[in-house]
């Protein structure tokens, strides 16, 4: 139990908090791209330190979903920081789409090789790529329209709810890693509540979307997580983003904050119900 607490809670939270302090200092010195990069690295570092603590060192070169996390998540922070450095909206969108096109074939390569025909593989690549771009855009829109803390809560909440979702989907490891993501996001969320520095969080949407998509994709494609359940969890932040501007106008900052986070969480709860019905938890055999 102590091992689980250490790897899933303390390691991601402490590493992310440490790197976040460095990020805030860089932002204060007027280095927004460096701040965005370090904020992204705080998330990536916290999460990957947890992966190391829970599952040991990954294979290199990457061969499976877990080892791809180590290659893709830090790289996504560089991609996100480069977009912040350039500062153009069109460039950000192009980098996100390019990134999203690159990631699925790498992670889903074993299924494309062993199990899927070219059409099915193309469809699944497109599905995952679209989810990644839409999630990154959704997180950014929530952060801009409401508050950065709303986007981080809209990421951390579903990540926490992904724990039972993935455990029901027969991957306790990725369930733990979802918990670690939620805990890596916690210091970032607290930082966003107290920070008055603008823009430091803009390096976070792409790495966060990458981790979420990798975990849900792994659960759905490599374990037993029902695809509709994964889709429901991913749709929460999308719904919140669609409504964010209208909610901000009608409900004011606090009301919009609460409504956005609720919208992000409700579909995830429905996803847990779907996963529960289609796959009972593995408690009967107790591992």
């Amino acid at each position: 139990m102590l091992d689980v607490l250490w790897g899933t809670v303390l390691v991601p939270a402490l590493v992310a908090a440490f790197l976040l302090v460095a990020a805030s200092r860089a932002t204060r010195r007027g280095l927004p791209a460096t701040g965005a990069l370090l904020a992204g690295l705080a998330l990536a570092g916290g999460h990957l330190a947890s992966v190391l603590a829970i599952a040991g060192s990954p294979a290199w070169p990457p061969v499976d979903a877990r080892s791809w996390l180590f290659a893709l998540v830090p790289t996504s922070t560089l991609v996100a920081a480069s977009a912040v450095l350039v500062g153009r909206r069109s460039f950000t969108l192009v980098t996100r789409i390019s990134w999203a096109v690159l990631v699925p074939p790498l992670v889903l390569a074993p299924l494309a090789r062993h199990a899927w025909g070219p059409w099915q593989a193309s469809l699944m690549f497109a599905l995952l790529a679209a989810t990644l771009v839409l999630l990154a855009e959704a997180f950014e829109r929530i952060g801009t329209a409401v508050r950065p803390s709303a986007f981080l809560a809209a990421g951390a909440g579903p990540a926490a709810l992904a724990v039972p979702l993935l455990v029901f989907g027969a991957s306790a490891l990725f369930g733990q890693l979802a918990g670690a993501l939620a805990w890596a996001l916690t210091p970032l969320f607290l930082g966003s509540v107290v920070s008055r520095e603008p823009g430091w969080w803009r390096g976070l949407p792409l790495p966060l979307a990458t981790v979420v998509v990798l975990m849900l994709g792994t659960g759905a494609f490599f374990a037993e997580l029902p695809l509709p359940a994964a889709g429901l969890l991913a749709s929460g932040p999308l719904l919140a983003a669609l409504a964010a501007r209208r909610l901000a106008r009608r409900l004011g900052p606090k009301g919009a904050w609460i409504a956005c986070v609720a919208l992000a969480l409700l579909p995830a709860l429905a996803g847990i119900a779907v996963a529960w019905v289609s796959y009972e938890p593995p408690g009967a055999y107790g591992y």
Partner: protein, 193 residues
């Protein structure tokens, strides 16, 4: 020119005879999956062993009785076919927590050297599991050989070895209820081709 041709011809004939002799001695066998078992057991909670087996396997062996070092064996197991007697546990074992069967659908043993000590063949080879390749030695004892009622010829081997799942990248849950050491049991019936 003629004086050169005759010795060359003799040498070629001798070489051919030697080669054909070893070809005759080496016989090719296929694994009979219906009468073969690849099983394993692993400690649960440190108090008892839990057993499992793989239902789908295939493989070939070349057995050279006169020159055992020239023998070879290759065995493939479909990881998806794991059966521990509990479907929920099997699903979990196929997931990325353990075998990651969709990423690594096949476990494979390919021999690199064979030594014979009486009825025991010590087969060293590459064991590929979960995307990791390790050299292991598998002692296989000949159980028996003989004609079957359908006109064929069969031989059988039995053996066991121990590996650590952590050596093959299956590190999740170490220190928890599921042990690290895995004992593998092989009972293989082979049909001469």
């Amino acid at each position: 020119m003629r004086s050169l041709r005759f010795p060359t011809l003799v040498a070629l004939l001798l070489a051919g005879l030697t080669t054909s002799g070893s070809v005759l001695a080496a016989e090719t066998y296929e694994i009979d999956p219906v009468h073969s078992t690849i099983a394993f057991r692993i400690q649960h909670l440190g108090v008892a062993y839990t057993w499992g087996r793989f239902g789908a396997m295939s493989g070939q062996a070349v057995i050279d009785e006169q020159n055992p070092a020239a023998s070879s064996v290759q065995v493939e197991v479909k990881v998806e076919s794991i059966d521990t007697g509990d479907e929920k546990r099997d699903k979990h074992l196929r997931s990325p927590d353990f075998f990651d069967a969709k990423t690594f659908p096949v476990a494979r043993f390919t021999s690199t050297s064979v030594r014979r000590k009486g009825d025991v063949y010590e087969i060293t080879g590459t064991f590929e599991l979960h995307g990791v390749e390790k050299t292991i030695t598998l002692p296989l004892e000949r159980v028996g050989s003989g004609k079957d009622p359908w006109g064929g010829y069969r031989t059988g081997f039995s053996g066991r070895t121990t590996i650590r799942r952590s050596d093959f990248g299956m590190k999740w849950g170490l220190g928890g209820p599921v042990g690290d050491e895995v004992e593998l049991f092989f009972d293989l019936e082979l049909i001469r081709q």
